[in-house]
Amino acid sequence: MVNFKAPGFSRTMLMLGLLFLYLPMVVLIVYSFNASRLVSVWAGFSTKWYSALFNNEQLLAAVWMSLRIAFYSASMAVCLGTLCAFVITRFKKMRGRTLLSSMITAPLVMPEVITGLSLLLLFVQMAQLVGWPVDRGMATIWIAHTTFCSAYVAVVVSARLQEVDRSIEEAAMDLGCTPLKTFFVITLPVIAPALVSGWLLAFTLSLDDLVIASFVSGPGATTLPMVVFSSVRMGVSPEINALATLIIAAVSVIALIAWFWMRRAEKRRLRPR
């Protein structure tokens, strides 16, 4: 029996790669506590950038706006993405299925400037033809984010749907359950973990988007990435370092919870019955 453990080279690359991924973040976190504005000077420990952050009204308003948009977009994207995943994994002979599957995979790689521009042109034309949307803002960003987030949800959910044991669903249908009831009683509980991870993924994607939101937003709606972008365009700012630290902390906590949860689920699945 040969040893198929990772040879030294690839293991070293993994460690170096992780170092490469995390070092810039560590730098951000360290410098968010620097009293000096300059990166090259360490002027002592300070939390003043955090208090500056919490007094920045414009930034807080943008955070609230972004969180609301991300919540609505993720929720809608889970609905649409799940339906798409169903069509792709289950309805093998449906007409129009190929078109649907192209439309759901393309947003995964489509350059953001193209998506943003095309949706803006749509909203402008719609405003001319049907009188809606009068003002671009939260609603238009919600539509744009829902559309590209659905693609990611569809990928996550279809991976799970492939593993679902169809015979239980068939049994339920044979016993007289309607397809709708079968879905809610049998399928939904089985794919629930995928729906949760799809929702979280969509939430972070929506929260993070700058380019598409910039195209389809109007004067009334400024999201967090737009505020961050206009500030970092001017150069390095310690307030943004503090914001970055808070974001990294939040994501790490959620990832840790998700990891514990997944590990528990895995253990439960492997336990002999």
Partner: protein, 309 residues
Amino acid sequence: MTKKLFATPLAERVRAVVFHRRVVFGIPFAWLLLFFLLPFALVLKISLTSAVMAIPPYEPVFRWLDNTLSVVVNLGNYVFLASDSLYMAAYWGSVKTAFLATLFCLLIGYPMAYAIARAPKRWQLVFLLLVMLPSWTSFLIRVYAWMGILGNQGLLNSFLMWLGLIDEPLKLLNTNFAVILGIVYAYLPFMVLPIYTNLVKLDVRLLEAASDLGCRNLTTFWAITLPLSKAGILAGSMLVFIPAVGEFVIPELLGGPDTLMIGKVLWEEFFNNRDWPVASALAIVMLALLLVPIVLFHRFQAREMEKNG
């Protein structure tokens, strides 16, 4: 249960199933048709108009006047793109930068994915989480982090000067090098993930057979592992290359005045010059350039999503 068991006739149940299928199919189909496909047709349409000072800032294509429908198609934007060397240079710059960044991502990402796939089962999840975690934090902020590191007064230059390796700061920020570094940094997780998914499914018995037949580790890798992970390499490369060609944020923040990338040019045409028709024509040409990679990616992704486990 409202209905008695087996009380529903078969024909009615079949009808119910067909109805549900239509609804399940129809909702996302209509949404994507309206908010994904139709917008591209509009981009094509606007790219064939000319810019005017109005709201919206372009001429209509179809006009109905005195019972005559006149269709004005203006190919001027495309002629303009072809005649101005700036745009050609921007397309070439984007493709070159994206290609180099994809290559570096592959060179770093493949060994990483390989090491994760060969790690003990319970460590795989931890490593995967560690690789994916950065991509769940803000993209913008991760690109911004490099501004503080690469700047003239930045961490890297200060460090190198402290070591005495250099006397004056190197120009690192606002160069094409910084743009490629930024893309590699931001997109690396998207290269690692599909290659890992592919490698972890690799049948270990093939490797054992090769080794039993006297293959050395490196030969086994070139003859078996690498060819079998072709699909993962392709998917990862497309996931990096296609968005990188149209990237705006990275060249804007890390690039310099000589960094010509099409995403940035499109942004400027749209927001600064308010020339929507030229911006649309730029988008159409970019799409045409990316059509083959997008189709390749779609074929891989559709296969991934359709197969039954």
